[in-house]
């Protein structure tokens, strides 16, 4: 709700003209800025919301400046997945781990920071390696009206809700959010996607059952070493998406949180079903799965290999 409030306030649409100006007509610089901004914003407003905000900007850019939309969409979707790994509120799997393992917000961010930084760095290399340097004409973009009341109330609620949850008062966060948003902008409450909430509830029920069955029949390998947890969670994310993979592995034996977080967050890249954000990006932009995999699979394999080396060291 809070993330939706921030998005609907229109504040993120104000960033677009600055991205165009800062890129100074250089496609690579544009992609670099996009990756940094998408990574940072997805850690606050969640990865799928970031797709709704930034993929249309790429579509506009491709229409006006003829940038490589397939590459831009693919790298932006990957940026949303790896950037959202930084905070406990960046994506659904992090929220689950944050609540289940009772990790503090600062501990989560500090622990994940080197990995998220590494993943974004590897992604930036994809911008500069390969492809020719392309220039485009810098153009002006009209602003979209911002709902300032909604922006301020949503930003404040984001901070207050995280503090309340961290202090163990999660039950107060919901009525507080409902009350403030009902005053600031009741339309936000009506815009809540109830079907999506039920979808996540059913994911929990179904995949918890599945996990118990897999455990009973000894299908899942033991989750003893960190490397096995990273590999298994990343691999399972490629097959059943990263949120279900998180539920399955937590239900199967609650492994250490860091290897699990590394595996499921990196597992959001690679094959398109790894994360809902990928599917949203492809659906909005209309680019093909093969085009996405051309960038996402090599990225996944390289980033996974380097991450495992880092975990070993």
């Amino acid at each position: 709700m809070v993330s939706r409030g921030l998005e609907l306030s229109g504040v993120f649409t104000r960033i677009a003209p600055y991205i165009i100006q800062l890129s100074d007509g250089d496609e690579r610089r544009f992609l670099f800025i996009m990756i940094v901004i998408v990574s940072l914003s997805s850690s606050l407003i969640m990865n799928d919301t970031a797709m709704f905000v930034f993929i249309p900007l790429i579509m506009t850019m491709s229409k006006i400046a003829e940038i490589d939309m397939k590459k831009a969409v693919s790298l932006t979707a990957i940026a949303a997945n790896v950037g959202s790994a930084l905070t406990p509120i960046g994506n659904p799997q992090n929220i689950i781990m944050w609540r289940v393992y009772r990790i503090s917000v600062h501990e989560f961010i500090l622990t994940m920071f080197p990995y998220a930084f590494l993943w974004v760095f590897i992604l930036i290399l994809f911008v500069f390696i390969g492809g020719s340097k392309k220039q485009f004409r810098v153009f002006t973009m009209p602003d979209v009206k911002i709902n300032r009341t909604l922006m301020v109330s949503s930003a404040t609620l984001l901070f207050v809700d995280v503090v309340l949850i961290q202090l163990g008062h999660a039950l107060w966060a919901l009525p507080l959010t409902l009350a403030i948003l009902a005053i600031a902008e009741p339309g936000v409450l009506l815009s809540i996607d109830v079907a999506l909430i039920f979808t996540f509830a059913f994911i929990f029920i179904d995949f918890k059952e599945l996990s118990m069955l897999m455990h009973a029949f000894n299908i899942l390998p033991p989750l003893k070493s960190s490397i096995s947890v990273v590999l298994l969670s990343a691999g399972l994310s490629q097959l059943i998406s990263n949120v279900p993979a998180t539920v399955v592995l937590i239900s199967a034996g609650k492994p250490e949180w860091l290897p699990l977080a590394l595996g499921v967050n990196l597992g959001g890249t690679g094959i398109v079903i790894g994360s809902l954000a990928n599917l949203i990006a492809l659906r909005i932009s209309g680019i093909g799965i093969r085009d996405f995999h051309k960038y996402s699979i090599p990225y996944f394999l390289i980033a996974l290999g380097i991450s495992i080396l880092v975990v070993f060291v």
């Binding site: 229109g10 649409t13 799928d48 229409k63």
Partner: protein, 162 residues
């Protein structure tokens, strides 16, 4: 017999806006002209009705927010004018084809240099036409500087995409 007092005019109260400034309309029209080339076509919203009919609307997007919907005529395979949503029976809809059709129409669309004022939204509504049909309205703030999105439609697009 005393005539009943007339009902108060809805809205109003903006004393500083009593003096009409035509420059604001020019500015609003210029904003729409600039934005028109930046508009993109969203995912077509294809609905099936209880009587088996199909209804297609195509959202026109600007940086992630929806500006307005364009009605699509599945029989003619072309945009339908504003106020004439088409309910079609026994037709196959190819979303990719719909999207491409509206993309072409949007390239050919032009801004009509006129505006109506919408007091509830405190905005100018500037018509955009294609092939002599008004296919959408773009709302611009009273001062003619900012585009006003259709947030209800933006939400509908979000739900449809997911």
């Amino acid at each position: 017999m005393v005539a009943p007092a007339s009902l108060p005019i809805k809205g109003g109260g903006k004393e500083d806006r009593k003096v009409f400034d035509p420059k604001l309309i020019n500015r609003a029209i210029d904003v729409v002209k600039t934005a028109l080339s930046l508009f993109t076509v969203g995912v077509p919203l294809i609905r099936r009705g209880p009587a088996g009919e199909t209804h297609v609307d195509v959202p026109v997007m600007y940086m992630g927010v929806a500006i307005d919907r364009v009605h699509y005529d599945p029989y003619l395979k072309a945009p339908s004018p504003k106020g004439r949503p088409v309910r079609a029976w026994n037709v196959e809809i190819d979303p990719q084809e719909v999207r491409q059709t509206i993309e072409v129409a949007l390239k050919e669309a032009y801004v009509i240099e006129a505006a109506e004022f919408r007091e509830p939204e405190d905005a100018w509504a500037i018509p955009v036409a294609w092939n002599r049909l008004i296919i959408m309205h773009v709302k611009v703030s009273y001062d003619g500087r900012e585009l006003i999105p259709d947030y209800g439609l933006t939400e509908e697009v979000r739900r449809y995409v997911i």
